[in-house]
């Protein structure tokens, strides 16, 4: 199954769809889509490991907070991430281990300023999940 896909919708910003057969995969693939913009994930190693926990009032809120947390970690810890392992996720809480390496100009993409609510949607289609997410660049 395709992990994510970019949609040509926003003039200045970026929109993507991420997919997953369960919530864990959906949150992992959404993070992969985000980091495919921030850095060249295929070239980024996994030697730095960070534990992340986020909360949210709803699944949508949890997704925004998850991606927002990852964006902040790029600045505070000066790391690019390439692998996201969701340990557990429910409607209001997510625990994950994320893997990356120190930022470097050679592997850099673009700064993502924020995760927006524009057309934000998390849906279950048959047995699969789909998230539609827009980023402010």
């Amino acid at each position: 199954m395709e992990k994510y896909k970019f949609i040509d919708d926003l003039t200045s910003d970026v929109m993507f769809e991420a997919y997953g057969s369960d919530l864990k995969e959906l949150f992992e693939n959404s993070a992969l889509a985000l980091f495919s913009i921030i850095c060249e994930i295929k070239k980024v190693g996994e030697e730095k490991i960070i534990d992340v926990e986020v909360n949210g009032d709803s699944l949508e809120e949890l997704m925004v907070n998850w991606l927002q947390e990852l964006i902040a970690l790029v600045d505070t810890d000066e790391l690019f991430f390439s692998r996201f392992e969701i340990i557990e996720v429910n409607e209001n809480n997510l625990k994950a281990k994320i893997y990356g390496e120190p930022i470097s100009p050679e592997k850099a993409g673009v700064v993502v300023k924020g995760v927006t609510y524009y057309k934000l949607k998390l849906e279950k289609i048959k047995d699969n999940y789909k998230a539609t997410i827009s980023l402010d660049i």
Binding site: D8, L10, V111
Partner: protein
């Protein structure tokens, strides 16, 4: 929505409040017909959304660089009554005090051109560019507090820039009332390592030559006297620090919307009443990001000066590398216009008060402008003008249409030396992704809200 637009004159268009239910005031677009015809319908719809907010003062303004954005188009101005209105984190956007500094030199185009291949990489080394570069300054929390509350005064006290720079910056480079206690620990943590960094996206550093002078008296006051003179333009914002403050307060204000029972046509327009805690806390935190951003640009200005010193073997003072002006284009400000106070939200819009400089950035392959504000801008646009040429194509579409290497080669053919942190940046920011800056500036000039003073063409470009 476009079919409801009525012509006022060749450069002004009215979208009456009858266009849709819930609009409290009219909206107005400043643009020539060609630009108007190409504005996305969704962006026009966004203007009407803002016209529904409490305490909005007529009219909501769309400028010729406007394009669809987060909640409100980039290139828009909305003014709210200072008692009955709202303050909105959504209407200011993520990059608080994104703005431009223009720096002059007394160097000629020939002197600079022969050194360009040395100068551009030297600047690239001196200024951390892109998401992969680490900042050279590492503030501690006390220093960050000082930057938040003292703005460029901190920079000058620490050897970055001079008192002259302070005078040549909007708000003298420091908005009063900034309160670090209203800023989250996470925002502060993001701000510590990033002062003196350019960022990425549409942020840039450009070496320019003056190509046309339209108002020589005003240009002379800015220290611009010669068509071969070289200027520098720096475009960037408050980095992750400002992004986090925006993110935090979008959430806080989203709750405030429910608390104060505000009806929003779009949840992205999160806001709070002007005199509420959620409104004023945002305003105090936003000012911290505004001051951080002013400081960020001045710190980098000093590094640009030092780099020129190394390359040209002269002191920056001898090269007359003074700030022409520094201005913001993403900001909320309480301003008094013709006796009435408003909370003016400028998102991708520049202050254009009478006889004050207005800086308008083009693309990396096209011209940029220095204009001056007018009385008419006070009457028509709450003392505001456009901020750039405005995007016309999405980043995704740009990556499909342009190749970074080819964009760089095309710039080279035009004699422009360019360097970016990666090829993708060139593709995403290709000149073809933007509106025609000449049409945009003609629109604001002919509408009378800011008048052309100087046109500059790029010689060297650094992209994040």
């Amino acid at each position: 929505m476009k079919e409801k637009i009525q012509k006022i004159n060749d450069y002004e268009w009215l979208l009456p409040k009858t266009a849709r239910e819930g609009m409290k005031v009219d909206a107005k677009i400043i643009a020539n017909k060609k630009i108007l015809d190409n504005i996305e319908d969704d962006a026009i719809q966004q203007l009407t959304n803002v016209a529904c907010l409490p305490g909005i003062v007529e009219p909501v303004i769309g400028l010729p660089d406007m394009h669809f954005g987060y909640g409100l188009p980039m290139g828009a101005v909305s003014a709210f009554d200072s008692e009955e209105g709202i303050i909105s984190a959504g209407l200011c956007g993520f990059d608080i005090n994104c703005g431009i500094n223009s720096i002059r030199t007394n160097l000629t185009v020939n002197e600079v051109r022969e050194k360009l291949k040395e100068l551009v990489p030297a600047l690239f080394n001196a200024i951390p560019c892109g998401v992969g570069s680490k900042g050279k300054l590492r503030l501690d929390y006390n220093e960050l507090d000082d930057v938040m509350t003292h703005g460029v005064n901190w920079a000058v006290e620490n050897g970055y820039g001079t008192k002259e720079d302070i005078k040549k910056t909007e708000e003298n480079g420091c908005m009063s009332g900034a309160d670090p206690s209203k800023v989250s620990d996470l925002a502060k943590k993001r701000g510590l390592p990033q002062l003196g960094t350019l960022g990425a996206g549409n942020h840039f550093l450009e070496i320019q030559k003056v190509s046309d002078i339209y108002d020589s008296n005003y240009a002379k006051k800015l220290g611009i006297i010669d068509e071969d003179q070289v200027l520098i333009m720096l475009h960037c914002g408050s980095r992750g620090f400002g992004h986090q403050i925006a993110t935090d307060y979008l959430k806080i204000q989203e709750k405030a919307v429910k608390k104060y029972n505000i009806w929003l046509p779009d949840r992205q327009l999160a806001c709070a009443p002007v005199n509420s805690k959620e409104g004023q806390d945002y305003y105090s935190a936003m000012k911290c990001a505004v001051n951080y951003s002013f400081t960020n640009r001045l710190v980098m200005t000093q590094w640009i000066r030092e780099t020129f010193e190394k390359v040209f073997k002269k002191s920056w003072e001898d090269m007359d590398m003074q700030t022409v002006y520094g201005i913001c284009h993403n900001i909320v400000k309480l301003e008094k216009i013709k006796g009435r106070e408003y909370y003016i939200h400028r998102k991708g819009a520049t202050r254009a008060f009478p006889d004050m400089p207005v800086l308008i950035a083009g693309t990396m392959g096209t011209a940029s402008y220095i204009c001056k504000g007018t009385e008419l801008a006070l009457d028509k646009t709450f003392g505001s003008s456009c901020h750039g040429s405005g995007r016309a194509m999405s980043r995704h579409a740009a990556l499909k249409q342009f190749r970074g290497e080819k964009v760089s080669d095309e710039l080279k053919e035009k004699g422009i030396v360019s360097k970016a942190s990666n090829w993708k940046s060139f593709a995403e920011e290709a000149p073809g992704c933007y509106k025609d800056v000449e049409q945009v500036v003609d629109s604001v000039h002919n509408a009378g809200i800011s008048l052309k003073v100087v046109r500059m063409k790029p010689l060297g470009v650094l992209k994040g």
